[in-house]
């Protein structure tokens, strides 16, 4: 601790508190997080726009990537979680997947190095949108009463257990679900970001301190490894968030499960 005493670990607040670039002071204050989410949306739209504009029957380059991702979302998320009637949700879920993926990936893009999803400001709205969507789908498809009944009363449960189960089901479906969605993504990305910051600061400090230079390879190697790992986590979290949303919407569509 003595040797490392001069290493200044910034507080988490400082790592996440970005100054506004535009409209400072107003509710519309645009800072780095806002820019990253806009960039994530723009990159996704441009990617699909380019792939769709020069679309050829025999795909090449970007079109291949986009088509593969569409097929990935269709087969591994929509068809698995929702079945064939979920196919209309593919563009919606593809958008969600790429928005989260790119928001995550800015964590490892040099000079940006900040996942927008490490802020609850991004994950809570996303989770709420997912929540509102599946509840709305459930009510629209089955009607309010039937949907609520299907969601709260599990089939084949003896009557005396219902007073216990209904509150639990309510809690799990309507309260924990959106909360878990938001916190899972936020927690994973924030933790990854902090890991990267930690190893980056350690590497930087050791690079400066001559005596400890021999220890530099360790945190630096960790920095490289964790960067690779974070790319994987970015994709995984985007996949999990999208899959869970698909599962919830599919459940609301199908009714009794």
């Amino acid at each position: 601790m003595f040797l490392l005493g001069s290493i200044n670990f910034p507080p988490i607040g400082e790592l996440l508190n970005w100054k506004s670039i535009l409209f400072g002071g107003s509710a519309l204050a645009l800072n780095k997080i806002g820019l990253i989410t806009i960039a994530a949306a723009v990159v996704t739209i441009v990617m699909f726009g380019l792939a769709g504009r020069g679309a050829k029957l025999v795909p090449t380059g970007l079109q291949n990537v986009v088509e593969y991702s569409v097929e990935f979302v269709t087969n591994l998320i929509v068809l698995d979680a929702m079945g064939p009637e979920g196919i209309t949700w593919v563009p919606w879920l593809v958008g969600m997947f790429f928005f989260i993926l790119f928001s995550n990936l800015f964590e490892v893009i040099p000079f940006i190095q900040m996942p927008a999803t490490a802020r609850t400001s991004v994950t809570i709205p996303l989770a709420l949108i997912s929540y509102i969507t599946f509840v709305a789908v459930g009510i629209k498809k089955q009607g309010f009463g039937k949907y609520l009944k299907g969601a709260l009363i599990p089939k084949g449960v003896p009557l005396p257990l219902l007073p216990l189960l209904i509150p639990l089901e309510f809690l799990s479906t309507f309260i924990v679900r959106p909360f878990a969605l938001a916190i899972r993504l936020f927690g994973n990305m924030l933790a990854g970001h902090l890991l990267l910051v930690t190893f980056a600061i350690l590497s930087e400090a050791l690079f400066v301190k001559s005596l400890l230079l021999i220890a530099l390879p360790l945190p630096f190697a960790m920095l490289v490894v964790v960067t690779g790992y974070e790319i994987f986590v970015s994709a995984l979290q985007a996949f999990i968030f999208t899959t869970l949303t698909a599962v919830y919407i599919g459940e609301a569509m199908a009714g009794d499960h």
């Binding site: 670990f9 607040g13 996440l16 409209f23 997080i33 569409v70 919606w92 609850t120 400001s121 949108i129």
Partner: protein, 176 residues
């Protein structure tokens, strides 16, 4: 003044969302979804379904083409077989006809040859007879002339040959 390690700063709570960030992230996500669903996704989906349809129709067309090719092949085979039979039949017929023609020609040639020979024989006989008759007449003439010459010579000789005279007298004596 900043002596805290991670999280000690209460001035900014890292867990609480910030209004501006919420607004911008919601705007970007909603706009993304709207643009994607309305404009950017359909062309990509269209080319994918087009491809699926094209591959399906190509496979079906290939299958149909294969069946058609098989049918045509069978047709050609049977036609070829028929053609071969027909060709064999024609060759047989031609051979037969050629045989007949040859025999006919041969017969006619033989007949003609025989005819020519016969005519030659006939003319030969006629010629021979003509020559014989000519010869005969000229032999007669010659004989007559010779005889007349011999006779005239004999008569001349009578006047000079006593033997003849004697003979003549003897003949005359006996005929008496």
């Amino acid at each position: 003044m900043h002596i805290y390690i991670f999280g000690a700063n209460q001035a900014f709570n890292p867990i609480l969302p910030a209004t501006g960030e919420i607004i911008w992230s919601v705007i970007s996500f909603v706009v993304l979804l709207a643009l994607l669903v309305k404009f950017a996704f359909p062309p990509v989906k269209k080319i994918m379904t087009d491809r699926t349809a094209k591959i399906r129709s190509d496979i079906e067309a290939a299958e149909m083409a294969r069946l058609e090719a098989e049918r045509v092949l069978a047709e050609y085979r049977s036609q070829l077989e028929e053609g071969r039979k027909e060709a064999n039949r024609l060759v047989d017929e031609a051979r037969k006809t050629a045989g007949l023609v040859r025999e006919d020609l041969l017969k006619r040639a033989q007949e003609e040859a025989a005819d020519i020979k016969r005519r030659a024989d006939e003319s030969l006989i006629i010629e021979k007879e003509r020559v014989m008759s000519e010869l005969r007449s000229s032999v007669g003439d010659l004989a007559v002339e010779l005889a007349s010459r011999v006779i005239s010579y004999e008569i001349d000789r009578v006047s000079i040959d006593p033997l003849v005279v004697q003979f003549l007298s003897e003949v005359g004596a006996t005929t008496k």
